[in-house]
């Protein structure tokens, strides 16, 4: 029931955004100096290849200046380059991801709670805490859509397999377990508009709850009985931890820093989505090309998703994101917008190195970022990743679910929470 409300809400913001975007066809283009460093670990930044890797001057577009000043409300948005948009981007053919995924996600959180059931009642309420249906369910949605898209590509029957739905559940459980631990690591007391588990029950029990959710996910994974699925999803667990470790350190050299950031972003966010897509594709198709398409779609959407998240940390006000903004700066983390801003304002360099620990660092860095092109550059990068995701998934046979996955990339870019 809760989830139905959520769907409606999400759809509302989605349509609202689209109308706004349609009004924004006017752009100013200009050259700005920025260098993008390429990340070998997580693959090249998509879309930049054509322009020549050696070029440090990249073309980017700006929004109309009146929009530029309104950082907090909407993300600056650029039309996709016409690579695919001519063919599949007409609105009439696009499908609503929320609507399409809904039939597979009925009782989704109830089913997760059934998996997590333990006789000890308190542990139960900790484990259920975030599976209350108020989350965005972004990951499960990608998983079920990709599952159906792969099935149709393979054998023309679009029904989601029960094991593919299990993968979606496992993916959401792994994600939630990592959130629970992250909140302890970061000392957060709010998430999704409510107190965190560690704030209510203490750190000790929060850690155990996270471990428990992981063990249940792992048991469900074993029941699927497919070694390849097990292998990719345990890789996710490994990546999540390594990504968290990467956040502990900061790199001195600027180019290393950007590479480090993108690699961390892949491990902490994109790996889960990429490998979940790959896992559902294993179950729906034996074609290695399909597995790679699914993985690349998830990887690119995942990185874009996190880049936008990092932008929102600067542009969104506290109430929208469900957590206070500039959280990353307060945690000492230099994300995309800061790294880009640092190229315009070298003063940021010292602050990044000391992890914004001196008095006033956070406020000052925040000012620099908003005065710089950091936010726009990060959004631009996110768009590039989304374009690559679209290019990849377009290689699958046409289906409503495939088109919904394409449309999902727009929503990733335009979300404001």
């Amino acid at each position: 029931m809760n989830m139905a409300i959520q769907w409606r809400y999400c759809r509302k913001w989605f349509t609202g955004t689209r109308n706004l975007l349609e009004a924004l066809d006017f752009f100013n283009g200009r050259f700005i100096k920025f260098s993008v460093y390429f990340n070998r670990g997580t693959g090249p930044v998509p879309g930049f290849g054509k322009m020549g890797l050696s070029s440090k001057y990249l073309f980017t577009s700006y929004l109309h200046s009146s929009i530029l000043t309104r950082h907090k409300s909407r993300l600056p948005y650029l039309r996709f380059s016409p690579v695919c948009s001519n063919r599949i981007h007409s609105d009439a053919k696009l499908q609503d991801p929320f609507f399409l995924a809904q039939k597979d996600l009925n009782n989704f959180y109830d089913d997760i709670r059934k998996e997590l059931f333990v006789s000890k009642s308190e542990l139960n309420s900790l484990c259920d805490y975030y599976f209350d249906g108020t989350g965005k369910a972004f990951r499960p949605m990608v998983a079920v859509l990709m599952g159906r898209a792969c099935n149709i590509h393979n054998n023309k029957s679009g029904d989601l397999l029960p094991d593919q739905r299990s993968v979606a559940m496992i993916s959401e459980m792994i994600h939630t377990a990592s959130l629970v631990h992250d909140d302890v690591i970061d000392g957060s007391d709010r998430r999704r508009g409510k107190s965190t588990i560690n704030d209510v029950w203490g750190e000790q029990k929060a850690i155990l709850a996270g471990d428990f959710i992981l063990s249940v996910a792992s048991m469900a994974l074993a029941r699927i009985g497919n070694d390849s699925v097990v292998s990719v999803l345990s890789q996710v667990i490994d990546d999540l931890v390594r990504g968290e470790f990467m956040q502990l350190g900061s790199k001195e050299k600027e180019d290393e820093r950007f590479k480090h950031y993108l690699e961390k972003t892949f491990k902490k966010t994109a790996s889960l989505i990429a490998n979940t897509c790959k896992a559902v594709s294993f179950l729906g198709s034996i074609d290695p090309d399909v597995h790679e398409i699914a993985y690349q779609y998830g990887r690119n959407v995942g990185i874009a998703f996190q880049l936008v998240d990092d932008v929102l940390d600067f542009t969104s006000c506290a109430s929208q994101l469900g957590k206070p903004s500039a959280t990353d700066l307060r945690l000492g983390l230099a994300t995309g917008p800061v790294l880009f801003a640092c190229q315009q304002f070298p003063e940021l360099d010292a602050m990044i190195m000391r992890r914004f620990s001196s008095r006033g660092d956070v406020d000052l860095a925040w000012q620099y970022v908003l005065e710089s092109d950091g936010v726009d550059q990060t959004n631009f990068l996110a768009q590039r990743y989304c374009q690559e995701a679209i290019r990849q998934v377009s290689l699958l046979h046409p289906s409503p679910e495939r088109d919904a996955l394409i449309r999902l990339t727009e929503m990733v870019l335009t979300r404001d929470k």
Binding site: G187, S215, D227, S231, S234, D238
Partner: protein, 384 residues
């Protein structure tokens, strides 16, 4: 090079303190070490499984570097780290050792349809079983580390700066997660979803068991909550037995031994763990005089049995009497009260029972050095 140097200096720092965490129990019987070191020779190489891959990883050397900052604070991670280093030198990683001995005692696969080749065996143990033994240790250590996370709201200023505790928690969560993640990828590499299911459920059991051990919000709860021996055994199995029992079973599954062999291996692991826990619960009641100041858990086996023997009413009365004017528990007084009744001897009987059940369960395996070593270990838990 610098990393290694740094790690060594960290180890030095950590070793300077007093050790108070043991890998298997709070106290070990005197000839325990001999039984263990004899057994280790049988399985081929010293039981410091904690894979080099893990210890030499950038991630853990990062933690080691940061843990240095905690020296001088009261964060429990420091003690866990000390215990870990001490124990890896003294080869007390019991769970892995038992899994290896069990693998060797059960011998090569009898299942001709399986694709296991006995030539792959080293010292009579399949490589996958060695990996499993390592995974078992990784999981156990991960929870030792996660147990050491502190509740920040209960921390008072007099205990030291909150910032240190936050930092210690961060390190504890991260390093525990790192060990668990390595266990997960290790399990995936075994390519046996039955084993994955078994070991994952053992992790779930372990969490539930540790959860029961945590103090409830009501302080007096553990005194009034009516824990009988059935509950005690259930909980102790979860927190101390499930991992070993299920790992022993999984070792049989990896060699494609039949259901019967799997059940027996499970039984051995279960009864050995329960016997061992009973033994360690007994320790505070075995010494005379010197350890009078030592506290003990009111949920430990001798207390629970004592309570069951004398009844709830008399127990409450005894608790009242053992409290000092400051409402502090006088453990020395309570101990001597308990020692007057049959709780302690009943616990010893129960320990002997589990020891003999463990011995019984491995009799179907052919006689071998490995089986004798398992027998010695099972017998050693009755040395009080």
């Amino acid at each position: 090079m610098t990393l290694i140097g740094c790690r060594l200096s960290c180890i030095g720092l950590l070793n300077r303190g007093q050790r108070n965490i043991h890998m298997f129990s709070n106290t070990a019987p005197s000839n325990w070490n001999k039984v263990v070191s004899d057994a280790e020779k049988i399985v081929g190489y010293p039981t410091s499984f904690m894979s080099l891959r893990c210890l030499l990883s950038d991630e853990l050397s990062n933690v080691a570097m940061h843990v240095r900052k905690l020296v001088g604070t009261k964060h429990p991670l420091l003690n866990t780290a000390r215990g870990f280093i001490y124990d890896s030198r003294n080869n007390l990683q019991m769970r892995g050792l038992v899994v290896l001995l069990m693998s060797k005692a059960a011998g090569p696969s009898q299942n001709t349809a399986s694709d296991l080749i006995s030539q792959d065996m080293v010292c009579g143990i399949y490589p996958s079983q060695r990996n499993l033994a390592e995974i078992t240790e990784l999981i156990h250590t991960a929870f030792l580390v996660h147990r050491g996370v502190v509740n920040l709201k209960e921390w008072t200023n007099s205990d030291g700066p909150l910032k240190d505790m936050q930092f210690g928690n961060k390190m504890a969560v991260l390093s525990g997660d790192f060990l668990l993640a390595n266990a997960c990828t290790g399990l995936a590499q075994l390519k046996n979803t039955k084993v994955l299911g078994l070991i994952s459920s053992a992790i779930g059991d372990l969490v539930q068991g540790i959860y029961h051990e945590m103090p409830n919000s009501l302080e007096e709860n553990s005194l009034t909550e009516d824990i009988n021996m059935v509950t005690w055994e259930e909980r102790t199995f979860l927190s101390h037995g499930a991992l070993l029992a299920k790992s022993c079973q999984a070792a049989m599954e990896l060699a494609k031994h039949d259901k019967d062999a799997q059940r027996l291996a499970y039984e051995y692991g279960k009864h050995l763990s329960l016997g061992h826990k009973l033994n360690s619960d007994l320790q505070p009641f075995m010494k005379s005089g010197s350890a009078d100041g030592e506290t003990f858990s009111l949920d430990s086996a001798p207390v629970v049995l004592h309570r069951q023997i004398i009844g709830q009413k008399r127990w409450r009365h005894q608790l009242q009497q053992a409290k000092t004017i400051g409402r502090q528990m006088d453990y020395a007084k309570l101990r001597s009260t308990i020692k007057l009744e049959g709780g302690v001897t009943s616990t010893m009987d129960l320990c002997r029972f589990h020891s003999s059940k463990a011995l019984e369960s491995i009799q179907r395996f052919p006689s071998s050095k490995a089986r004798s070593a398992l027998e010695n270990i099972a017998s050693a838990v009755t040395n009080f």
